[in-house]
Assembly symmetry: C2
Homo-oligomer: 208 residues x 2
Amino acid sequence: MTTPELSQRIIAAALDQFGRLGFDAASTRDIARASGVAMSSITYHFGGKQGLYLACADQIAVVIGAVHRPLMDAIEADPPRTPQDARAGALALLENFARFMLAPESEIHCQFIVREQQHPTEAFERIYEHMMSPVLETATALLAIALPHRDERERRALVISLVGMAIVLRVGRACVARVLRVDDIDAQTADFLLASLRRSALTLLTED
Amino acid sequence: MTTPELSQRIIAAALDQFGRLGFDAASTRDIARASGVAMSSITYHFGGKQGLYLACADQIAVVIGAVHRPLMDAIEADPPRTPQDARAGALALLENFARFMLAPESEIHCQFIVREQQHPTEAFERIYEHMMSPVLETATALLAIALPHRDERERRALVISLVGMAIVLRVGRACVARVLRVDDIDAQTADFLLASLRRSALTLLTED
DNA sequence: GTCTATACTACGATAGAC
DNA sequence: GTCTATCGTAGTATAGAC
């Protein structure tokens, strides 16, 4: 590719539009305008609106994958052997994810993904395969060490609940602020939420 | 109103379109077609696309409000006095909500709400005020009885986590199925998820 | 490889018949 | 109160100049 940055600029603008508005409501005109290129360049580089959408899905997998990469690598390089270590690893993975859910950057990514979750298309498949599956299976493996006496299916359900505790910080953002009686979720409130989440998760990860 | 059912038919079709596609992508033409009326009837009854959108928000508040009504009434009629009773009430409220999240009807409602949560408009305000706020504050009050020694702010954060554990069953539906290695979430899988959720919630609601 | 120009379809709103 | 007809705008895709 002679101008790799141009494709990236289009994808960035497209991700913003697709995330905020969804596939149908997003307009290639606006995306072209926002990225400062002609509309026909989208056709040239991505074959059309659909192709651009899939390129956005790949981009999401890369970006959110990078969020988890350092921790995932550390866990793989030095796999936990004791329940205590596994619990600490799972907590770190969850806190890392929750921190991303609280960050502004996760907004468009999450809206994109939540939409895809309801009726998954090829776009979801790519995101799941390249980003979600590795993280979720790592979490499941950590829980197998942390909670050896529990049924595998129970552990998988627990992974889902833990993910939910983090994901609500993004998808229920307006409710979170109102329930805590704050105008918006500032850094201080975010730290409090993370600490509280950590406490609850620790409770759930401690074998009775 | 001489034909109250016609407005309802339009709202039903609109909710489906707005929920699935969002405000911009939904088309009043399609809504009119789906409900079997002329497009101009929407203008007549709701003043335009925006008015119809707000009518859908009110409808959501009514429908999801009705889901919680029986339990809310029972709790108000006979307020729990012991931590055990309060815990049971909170668990019942959560399970009721989670069951709705697993039901197909919640799909469009939730998509509508999640979109509104990111950048709340008048529509979110109506849903929050008439439906969410009463339920969330009831839950908070129950937790105040169940966990008297904990800080009020901690209890509110816990309410958020509990909601997250239920809400992920809807917004993360595709992931839930994949993590549990099932093709779709049938009645049996749903029961298992609810039982597992109940167990985790009980753990979190038991004072250490 | 990027542009301009254009073909074709669909959008929301409104006017006016009945 | 519901319809049909129409206006002005904006959507995607494509053809062809450079």
